[in-house]
């Protein structure tokens, strides 16, 4: 039978009539119109709905609303301080973590929780984050968490001293007849292509930091 449940969501007192077993996720989404927490599986596996109950990570799809009585629920919508993003949200923007974005509210809430419990998480701690990201932006998630935690990271590279490529020199971008590379429409490649193919990396992410581990470079 429906009961009245009174609790706080993102700092505001709410009262809802709901079956006591109704998962918090559907209370938030269908009764309160709070749609940041996403449905992805309904059984606590994908964790796209991850939110906080009294600051601790929960999956609202498996938490009955009755357990929230008198408690404080925080969803992604309640994380920022007005227009000022929470540091984890800001790190997510800085690292351009999201792709489709669907799992990111849950990812962020999980990361906030992890960093509260363990301000300097290890790679193993990060590996233990179960939140699914079907777009596969895991390296950026890892980098963003490490950046917030101020964890010094390995220098970019493969862990070995630099070593030349095997075999002969790379091609110069032109065939022996002086024509351009493979049959693609478009302009001729720039003259500097030959050297750039093996030249110095000059990408914007060379400085490491946030992008350590996902270094990009124009080779």
């Amino acid at each position: 039978m429906p009961k009245k449940h009174t609790f706080r969501v993102n700092g505001e007192q709410v009262q809802v009539d709901a079956d006591e077993n109704m998962p918090l996720l559907w209370v938030l989404r269908d009764k309160l119109g709070i749609t940041g927490p996403k449905y992805g599986c309904g059984v606590g596996l994908c964790r796209a709905c991850t939110s906080h109950l009294n600051g601790d990570e929960i999956q609202p799809c498996v938490v009955p609303v009755s357990e929230c009585q008198g408690q404080e629920v925080t969803t992604i919508e309640g994380l920022a301080n007005g227009d000022e993003l929470h540091p984890v949200q800001q790190a997510w923007v800085d690292a351009d973590v999201g792709q489709c974005g669907f799992c990111q509210p849950g990812q962020i809430m999980a990361a906030v929780s992890l960093l509260r419990r363990k301000p300097k998480p290890t790679d193993a701690d990060i590996d233990a984050i179960e939140n699914m990201c079907r777009c596969g932006t895991y390296p950026r998630l890892r980098a963003a968490i490490k950046e917030i935690a101020g964890i010094p990271t390995d220098p970019p590279g493969n862990g070995e001293p630099p070593k030349g490529p095997p075999g002969d020199k790379p091609p110069n971008g032109k065939g022996p007849d002086g024509k351009g590379p493979d049959g693609r429409p478009g302009k001729q490649p720039r003259q500097d292509d030959a050297s750039s193919a093996e030249g110095e990396q000059s990408g914007e992410k060379e400085s490491g930091g946030l992008f350590d581990g996902i270094k990009s470079a124009f080779g």
């Binding site: 559907w26 923007v93 351009d96 792709q99 990111q104 895991y138 996902i214 124009f218 080779g219």
Partner: protein
Amino acid sequence: MAEPEPAAQDKGRGLRRRKFLTFLVAAPTLTVAGRFGFDALTEASAVPSLPSLEEVADLGEVIRLASMPTTHLMVLEVTEDTRVRFELPRVEVGQGISTSIAMVLAEEMDARLDDVDVELADSRPALHFNQITAASTTMRVLWDPVRRMAADARARLVNAAAKQWDLPAERLTTNDSAVHAPDGRTLSYGELSAAAREESGNGEPKPASEYTVVGTPVTRTDARDVVTGKARYAMDLNIEGALPTVVARPPTINGTVGAVDDAKARAMPGVVAVTEIPTGVAVSAETFYDAIRAKDALEISWNPGPIDNVSDSDIRKKLKNASHPLAAPKLRGRHLDASFDFAFVNHAPMEVESAVASVPGDGTAEVWMPSQTPIWAQGAIATELGLSRDAVAVHVTRAGGSFGRRLFADVGLEAARVSQAIGRPVKLMRTREDDMKHGRMRPAYHQKIRASYTKGEVLSFEHRVTGVGLDFDHGLGEALTSTLAQTVEGGASQYYFTASQSMPYHVGIVNHTLQEVRLDIPTSSFRSVFSGTVRAAEEVIMDELAERMGKDPLEFRRQVAKADSGKAVLTKVAEVAGWGRKLPPGHALGVGYHSEYRSHAACVVEINATDKANPRVTKAFIAADVGQVVNPKGLEAQLMGATMDGIATILQAGVHIDNGAVRESSYGDYHWTKQGDSPTRFEVHLIRTDWEPGGAGELALPAAAGAVANAYARATGTRPRSFPINH
């Protein structure tokens, strides 16, 4: 309830459309590939292979040609408050096209990126084939028309300012969404918008050397919405009165409803309606909780589905039996024969398939859904409802991932049927279990390869691909069959195969064939489509050929790669990954290379397979040449995601079919890549060239899949033949 509007075509636009300058520019320009063929052989030890259809005129080129006649119908608007608004006739599924298109517009208009709004266009049948998001073609197809459109818009704004100031247009400059006179006077684009409407002007797109936006790393324009939870997907829309709806579905694939006893369900709290539809029994209720509970209380006897007696082993047998024999002639060398099996793969996007529909009974319908082919969806829904196509509006919403899953209109059709039946708007959502057990999948494949070789060179490469039929009965299939595919026996699927499959190496005589076995299992293209399996298998064989010929696998690829760009990305990836370095037992590096979409990617991964059942790719390096890069950050994200897909499909994620039912039900038993399976080091190195943008969204998957399989093989001393390896 959405308010009724007179013209379906303008639905969803009526409210925000204030009449300002609307450019309808960018005349279609037909450009045909300037150069065909391949690089002359520079290495002695390779037998040349003829160019494939893919190299001459690939799928993307066909889609570009099909899109060309209507590119002038795309709409770019400059509002009085200096917003540059573009209706993108594509769907944003996370691939970053909204950001990339905004960058191209900002670049060519000299507008501030923050002033550019890229919105997803409603279905517009007038666009014909220019509203399909598929085959990594968005930037390839739209690059030229969008920058021409923007350059024209800028020219008209400049001409309007020139007239106002009585100055020659050549003396005026533009930046920050404004036109500037030499004396310092400035007019914003908003101030000029109305006057520019009367102007003509043909702008020339900038040379790449003048780019200040294109080619620079830009954070997604929706990043803030995403991190604050404001990004809205179909189920987040506030369509008044839309009832949460779920569907009870049969226990086996394509089973049908027998008898229904819904008395208990109807009596449950919140339930508004129970509706039988062809795919099951829908329950509409006040909340999804109510709907799901009542769905579970339905008593339904199900009729069997068409494949209830079929399991994985039967499917493998069917494919094997249907597979044409290898027929490569016994040339002067030796043979390497191998056969591969690939399991069904579920796309499993984070956002389950969902749609909102409003069919109020006044002869119109509105559907909100993420769709890769909205015009086709509009037609399919209209037919289903018995309405004229123009009476149906499809509003394209952002997708929580796709990977090929949004090509069809399955849930849109279901939502429309239910809404029509009950006369109320509905928001219909598949549960994850629905999505796993009844969602479309990448078909299962059996593939045979025979390569003949001598001590130093490959003489022939024969590849027989046999798969469960891939459903192309959607908008892209329609586009293909309406353009060139009718010339290929077997229709869209055969055409797609032929126009996308190409061996990027000189390996003598190459012969690829596709055979499909009809089986009543829902399928849909999966990221990289055929290449995800075909090229992965070929990359495994490339390693084994190298081994037999006593060559280093990466060096062997470099020797026989057709394209200089291919050699370059292989060289680069070898350098950054430290190819050849010594690793402890159970660890190994593996390489893969792929060329498609007029782009090239080489991947090296390092694997720890000391526990064969739980291997971990610990590092991944990609070198890519995709021509002109629009947004390096977005490109990196695409290469990253496709690498994770390569890891999942090769090592751990596949669907089982048991007596006509999908065994897996959620992410707990469908083991897609998670953080703990992903490499802790991921590097992308871009080789910068000025070719027009190639496709990049699917490019890395075959290269990564090959690299992962080869690394596993080297680490474990096995020859992987069945994928995923740990099925």
